[in-house]
Symmetry: C2
Amino acid sequence: MITIKDVAKRAGVSPSTVSRALSGKVPVDRETRDRVMEAVRALKYQPNILAKGLKEGRTNTIGLIIPNICNPIFPAVARGVEDVARENGFTVVLCNTDEDMDMERNYVEKLQNRWVDGLIFATAREESRHILELKQRNFPVVLVARHMGEAVDAVVVDNYKSSFEAVRYLIETGHKRICIIVGDRDLILYRERFEGYRHALESAGLPVYPEMILDVSGRDDNGYNAVKNLLEKGIIPDAIFAASDPRAIGAIRAVKDCGLNVPDDISIVGFDDLDISSYIDPPLTTVSQPLYEMGTQAARRLIAMVNGSKDEKPQIKIMKTRLIKRKSVKQR
Amino acid sequence: MITIKDVAKRAGVSPSTVSRALSGKVPVDRETRDRVMEAVRALKYQPNILAKGLKEGRTNTIGLIIPNICNPIFPAVARGVEDVARENGFTVVLCNTDEDMDMERNYVEKLQNRWVDGLIFATAREESRHILELKQRNFPVVLVARHMGEAVDAVVVDNYKSSFEAVRYLIETGHKRICIIVGDRDLILYRERFEGYRHALESAGLPVYPEMILDVSGRDDNGYNAVKNLLEKGIIPDAIFAASDPRAIGAIRAVKDCGLNVPDDISIVGFDDLDISSYIDPPLTTVSQPLYEMGTQAARRLIAMVNGSKDEKPQIKIMKTRLIKRKSVKQR
DNA sequence: CTGAAAGCGCTTACAG
DNA sequence: CTGAAAGCGCTTACAG
């Protein structure tokens, strides 16, 4: 391995001078610098990042903690994070936790020691005390897609409002028996989406049928079975609001497998606007989340924190959603 | 930050002893070790990985270089890599290159210096000279999903055979005018899938219609437009073999948008077997690739190389594919 | 502007 | 079994 000493020898200067010439932050004689640069090129010198990090106390690395990269909302977020990380000379370490708190804590313990300058969590829960602790210790942290109140920086969407509007659209188009497929209501995110649904119905004077609240999470999280069971019991809604696009896609499949038509018999609205959602049949009406931008914003914020402004007060950035009207909803 | 010195002081021993007690590789008096462990717990000591890495010359980190995590085949691969990395005490750095060679080279230069103990590439091309250089320098490298011949370890599927069999199935079910949507034929992978298609037709005495070879790659890579154009020109195949599931999904949409039916008018076979592929309409007949296992195998191999066995000769591991028959193909 | 020295936090021969 | 010392490859006050 080529070290700074090799470069120094070849350029006929001391290692200190090489270091300074490379850093660019300190005046170095122009001719000396040229000699150094020449040696760097000739030797293909690459500074050892570990040594640098050890000395400087930073690594230009951030950690991204997500439940599971196979959940199709996360690739876009991850891509957004990585793009701005790269632009700023950072690299990103990827960690899947499957929502397992112990695994997450292990990761955090491991990464947080000089390994990583800051952490982005897409896994926040109300019981995530370790995130609060990190924050208290002044370790740079930002949340994405989920928030923990005012205590820690986050980039999210307005889940309540988005689903309120989606369900209101269903009501405006004449639907009266509206089913919801919702995710783990231990997550604020899904509670908010549920509340948006409930208040939209209530404010229109429509009933909330308990049997039409389909809680679907974990392994079997795409709503297919839940909807199939509902339909087979003879409970037929005229619309389904799915709290995620995969659940909407599962619901469409279930409706069709029961011999019914989307949207003629049952309208369906999703939440996410994944790439495929416009290609399925019927093209899905859904709430579009700016996932990529959520990733870029979170990374930008985190890098700003790493680069100094640690003690500003936390900001909750609320990104805009949009209801994309396609063909899975019928005017009744 | 708590260092090894703090632990040493509290336990009343030297830093060397703390290091040895923690490593477990060297005999340490039982009572001394207990005192050390006690101090470690009390202080919540976490060794500084940078210092450790600097001294030991390894970081227990691997880099995963992929074209784009938003391409739906890569999340499963990445997940496989990360799962076995974690089991073995490694973390993974994620790099998206968009198939851009310069970006890839930048990443490699940056990571390869002590940053990372080995690299998994899902981006290999024939012109990827930097990968060969890495290999020559004895730097641990393994390829996944694409290979570069016998020179470097790889975990792949038999693309030729898989698509030969898929197309033969189409022929056996009575199809005669079979279109292909293929990807960038600068990639061996797609060339092999194309050859499988061509030889299946030829060996059945069926013509290969040049206008039915749809090359689709880059931005607009889902086949929708290509198929739509073909159909609008009045060229109507009785089957389409798509060299990836996203292309199959785009093709289905295009066929439907032209007022035709899948599979009654046109049968469609894909390649990948993504999660959604069984939920779309019609459920897609497709070649299933074990993406997750390809990730785990690649990581296992790489970690073995990092842990010593660097100079064994390269292995090309060929994973099994399977044609999953669903409803997008009709017996004619 | 430049060099010698100290130090970041570890590990590991070297003695004992 | 244990401690003191050297060293991994950098950066940065401290002198000059």
